[in-house]
Homo-oligomer: 359 residues x 5
């Protein structure tokens, strides 16, 4: 949740912290007009100089943040403010929108479900007058559907400017939360069934894990919502008028995701109660067994103890019917106890049968 | 709560996800003036062209979202924005109001109590200058009372424009929450009685279920309230002035429903405490039985054990009064213990009697 | 909390639901000027026509909502909007203020402490230019002090217009919450004493009941506060300028009541913890008794068991001192155990003595 | 928390409720100019008439609210609104600021730590153009430092007008909360140490008491903050410009006190958890003792029981080594059990040693 | 958390409380222009007079608040308002920004992790037109990196005015929270592992401590955020335009820190649940051992007791097969019990194995 990518306190603002395992940047460029598309990977930042043209959208996608020199070249070419570059590199930053003179920066956070819970990844999007510049931490394929839409000449995306492209990227990032939520929903439902059936400490751990993950998702999506709202509210000349409707849609998705996250968090909290109560129920069962065993046998053992005494003057011992009568009395007592416990409801199925589960 | 009706991330906005089990659309049209009513089911969307007239309200009710072609035809005829159509089809969406140039879209969510808890259904209402276009997921009868009011020539509904009709539909959707709440209220009261009488694990499950359902209702009604507020606040030329009072009434109902839901949620939370405490009380009772049995018989058994020893030099064994005296001592001890426990309040009714229930 | 007084979904707005047990309306009229008072009960609504005069305040108090015809007559005479009439009749409504052209409607909720907890009753007040029209569910006496002030010719009330009378009525309704709160306070204090002394399941029930009641009071007083605020804030020509100060006072009372309710709710929540902990303490005591009994007698019984064995070669059995020595050893062991438990603090008073109650 | 000083519902507004134990008013007057000070106690309200002069600050401090006639005389002389007088007398009122034509009324609440928890006392301050009129419930000495500053001719207080004096009084009231908070802090720390060392039910009671007291303080300080904010925000001609900075300082103190109160409340809540857990830990210990005793001796007793049987054909009984071998086996079993329990960590110190307390 | 540095109630505002252990002030001055740097420690405040020049930034850093005379000299020289000086000296104050005529005061709180939890230290920063005056409680090295940047002639810091220097100081204070948060994160993760493995009461104490510390951090960072926001929002002529972007960055850091603190607090709360549940699990295990032991041996002991009775007429005793058959029956019963418990899942590993930890 809190990776160590912060420069030491008192550093000059704009100091970059390049992670030792960060990938070397790969630069993929798509330049398109309604009737033309040029797509290639470039090796040198300088090659970009000739590609930026009026009335053409140029999408420069930088995958990997491992080379400070390359990042600084980008900063020079696109007049990126030192703090903006710091935001791009010293991940994770809080999602937000910041307007600069020549472009607007959107910091967003993608949430992918990896092997060790939710794995956030930051995507930074600069929206310029005729370009979109994106920085990702790793090579991934979440933007491939958008590349395909551009390649296939989708009329809306080809005819709209860079703000529509930026919207499409933001939308893809946010839509990536939906499968995550479905996974959570299925996990919680599965957990509920298991907990009712057979509560195990590992499940508590799983609930705790789900709560942490949901918390992480909430912390990621909440500022994203704010950021998109800022894009809609501020009259930003870089955001074309018709894109506003699309951004509102994107905003609605954020709210919907937050609703679902909050619901899941409350359900997880409620599951915790169910778990604790199921465990308490088990404990109760254990204690009932003990009580029943002890209550039946302790008096019987006492009766046997009586006639194990060595007093000389115990007439019962000499009677021929003493032993069978005592055995009969013991059986009667035991049966009486069992009947009593059955009446109290301590014997017989207090386990949750399948037909009990709808109250 | 979270059905899979979301297109894959990165899809073109406006992509429709038609559920495989969605019903084929049935189109029911009512066209009325103060002194005239025409009502029929139509098969082709094109038939509508001639029906839209000035000074006439035309209510087109589409039941079932199973045919993309038909839905696209509607979109063409009524100039529905691709995103608006997406909202209508890719249910469930968050309730909201969105203004477009030619009409206003209200997304609302109906909540019916089905066999498996609360079953939400989305109703989308387009309010146009001379028409109301509604889309429902399933054929249902929640709007039949309104149809009857139109058929019977109710003076208010016949003389008012489409915004009054839209209000009537919204109001019917929201009024549908009242019986739901009554059911919740009765369920919680019944649960309370059962929990105090005889707490069972299945009841915990029922409380958990009620809390989930109430959460779902809250998530449905909260944005509805906001949406109606937006309709009232924004000066929308499509909403006639006298309809404002009615919408405020509708808004009040939303608030009242939310109040009731919040109350029920707090009561359900409090019931959880009562349940846990009742279970704890039971456990306490079990332990008391064990303690009483053990405390009475363990010392007695020890005394019997003493006189079961085989020491040669035990003068008591040879006395004629040894045995009866020991028995008398045992009875005295047992009685003493019982008196002691009764004084401690461990014996006798700590169960909740009916006269105890009003503190 | 949620009585069934809602018309079926889809009904025409303004449909009245007359409860079968509603009282037949009694109409009491007081008409006063600074120097004149006329007071009588009337049988027909039409009689009112002559009573409304300029510069005279006419207070029409309708007690009982059981006759739709009478209510409709009032609606006609005073031009009451159908929705306003619905609010008056289909109780309970959320307290609120609604301005209409000719008058302003205040819905308020009285809370009386009846036999079955808090019993809410709705009082609806129409403030007109020269009249105040009130509707109550039942005949009650909460307004009698105000009638007396009018009869006794109280100079302030006689010289002020209808808005002052309306204020006096609102104030009486809100002041009615104070005795309720005192009752709650006393109940909670009594409960606290009992819980610490001798926790019983019925007390849990009482706490749960108090929490429900406090919740109901909160839900009633919160919108009342908002409603009075709306009266103060909106520049309503029907509210005379000097009445504003009085309304602010009334508003302060609402806030004070809400403060007290919130305090009591937190205290009730805290009492729940005290109860649970007291019960846990009891359980602990039960377990200690069991442990002490078992720990003392189980080893002794074992020792007796040893010398109850029938081995031929047990020299102790033949010694004359065997038996007394064993008895001495047993006494020593028992005393040792008791000392050990006393050191651990398990024996002796962990009960909460009176001198312990101030930590 | 909720003393019965409210007039019956429906009373005329402005009705005073004089508490039977209220003190008779003592009137102390200080009249000062930069270079002059006149100080005396007066017996008749009428004496004040000559004391009010332009360019002189006259502080009239009324201690005790037990004489309605005197209070009414003050109301007449200073044109106090009936409701304002009610606020002064029917204590406790919610702290607030109310502007009247001739003066501004500040209701504040002092919190002193008495023998029975927090004892609130209301101080009402009227700020006029050339006077400050204060009403206190009891004779106290919280304002003595201010009297001394005036007597010693403190240049700031002597040269500033009545609003500075009012500020000084408010500030003294609010500063009175600091020692209270320190007491709470020390109490909670002491409690924490005791709870970890030896949890007792009385401590739970103490936590509950501390929570109630903190709640009372919070309810007192929150509206005070609002009231001071209102004094700062509203451009009140009676509040001199340079006093604004001082009032902001006073406001900051309120916020700081609320912060501390909230912190203490969270700590108290957390302490409750620690208490419950400590108790649970104790209970666990009790159960372990029982289990260890039973687990060791029950099998041994069984073995002794075997050889206490009277079968004729039990060859072990006749062997010379039977008895010593059995004793050896018993010792071995007991030792084995002890080793097993030690391995499980049930024997040996799970008590919280002093070196464990820093995790 | 709440050190006693408040003057007694009723004191003159501006009264300074010098702590007996406060350090004697050390005054370090840095005076720089783009091309010039003068750095020295001064002994007398009067020496500063000549150092303040136009177009030069003079940073006066006062370390230690132990000498009232020196502090008053500073107040005179820089026209510090008595209340501002009080804020500087009577630490801790709530972080805030206050504008005075000649300078702006920022109160901030540093949080360092010392031996006894979080140790707050107040840093007060006066921003003037050509100077920055800072007061610290102790000599520390948190500002050394900034001193080095000035010494090394960092172009940004040397060319910007005092507001940039103030920003750099604020930023260093806030960046100091990051390592603190990392420590918390590691501590909580370590705790989680320990709790699942082997829950000990000391861990509960550690959770409680972490919650208190996080609360303290939250209380420190929240008003800091507000203060920085006030600096950005208010158009303060002392804050240069380009510094605004940097302050926004600083604000974002505050929000990010608060997010992390809130996350950690929720995790700590959830850990408490895990702890309680782990302890309950242990208790359950203890009870199962007891139940198993008792359930197996109590019936066996009873059987042995039967044949230890001394009835004359017990034919089994005389049979040669009686003893071996009984032993066989006992073994069979014991095995049956074990099988039964194994089926119930009470025997065998319910401990949380490492492979269970990912649900």
């Amino acid at each position: 949740m809190f990776r160590k990518r912060h420069p030491p306190a008192g550093s000059k603002p704009g100091t970059l912290v390049i992670h030792s395992q960060a990938q070397q940047p790969v630069i993929r460029v798509m330049k398109y007009k309604p009737d033309n598309l040029e797509e290639r990977d470039i090796a040198e930042v300088a090659e970009l100089k000739d590609m930026l043209e009026v009335n053409t959208v140029c999408w420069i996608d930088v995958l990997g943040l491992g080379d400070e020199a390359v990042l600084r070249e980008f900063a020079d070419m696109f007049s990126i403010h030192p703090l903006a570059l710091e935001h791009v590199v010293n991940v994770p930053q809080r999602p937000k929108v910041e307007r600069f003179e020549e472009h607007t920066l959107c910091i967003t956070r993608m949430a992918l479900l990896g092997d060790e819970g939710v794995e956030p990844e930051q995507v930074s999007v600069f929206i310029g007058p005729n370009y979109v510049l994106t920085f990702q931490e790793r090579c991934g394929d979440v933007f491939d559907p958008i590349r395909n839409r551009i390649r296939q000449g989708g009329p809306v995306i080809r005819n709209s400017g860079p703000s529509y492209l930026a919207y499409a990227l933001l939308d893809a990032v946010i839509d990536g939360y939906y499968p995550l939520l479905e996974t959570f929903g299925e996990k919680l439902e599965a957990l509920e069934d298991e907990i009712v059936g057979n509560p195990q400490p590992a499940m508590l751990h799983a609930i705790h894990g789900a709560k942490s993950d949901l918390l992480a998702v909430r912390r990621a999506i909440w500022p994203q919502r704010e950021a998109i709202n800022a894009l809609i509210r501020d009259e930003n000349p870089l955001i074309a008028e018709p894109v506003q409707v699309y951004l509102r849609n994107c905003y609605d998705h954020c709210v919907q995701i937050m609703d679902a996250v909050d619901t899941y968090r409350e359900l997880a909290g409620s599951l915790m109660d169910v778990y604790l109560s199921s465990v308490g129920n088990r404990q109760n069962e254990v204690m009932k067994v003990l009580t029943i065993m002890a209550s039946i046998f302790i008096p019987l053992t006492f009766m046997a103890g009586i006639y194990g005494m060595n007093f000389e003057n115990m007439p019962e011992l000499h009677s021929a019917w003493g032993y069978p009568l005592l055995l009969a009395a013991m059986v009667a007592l035991a049966v009486g106890m069992i009947v009593y416990f059955r009446r109290k409801g301590w014997l017989g199925g207090q386990r949750l049968g399948p037909h009990d589960r709808k109250g």
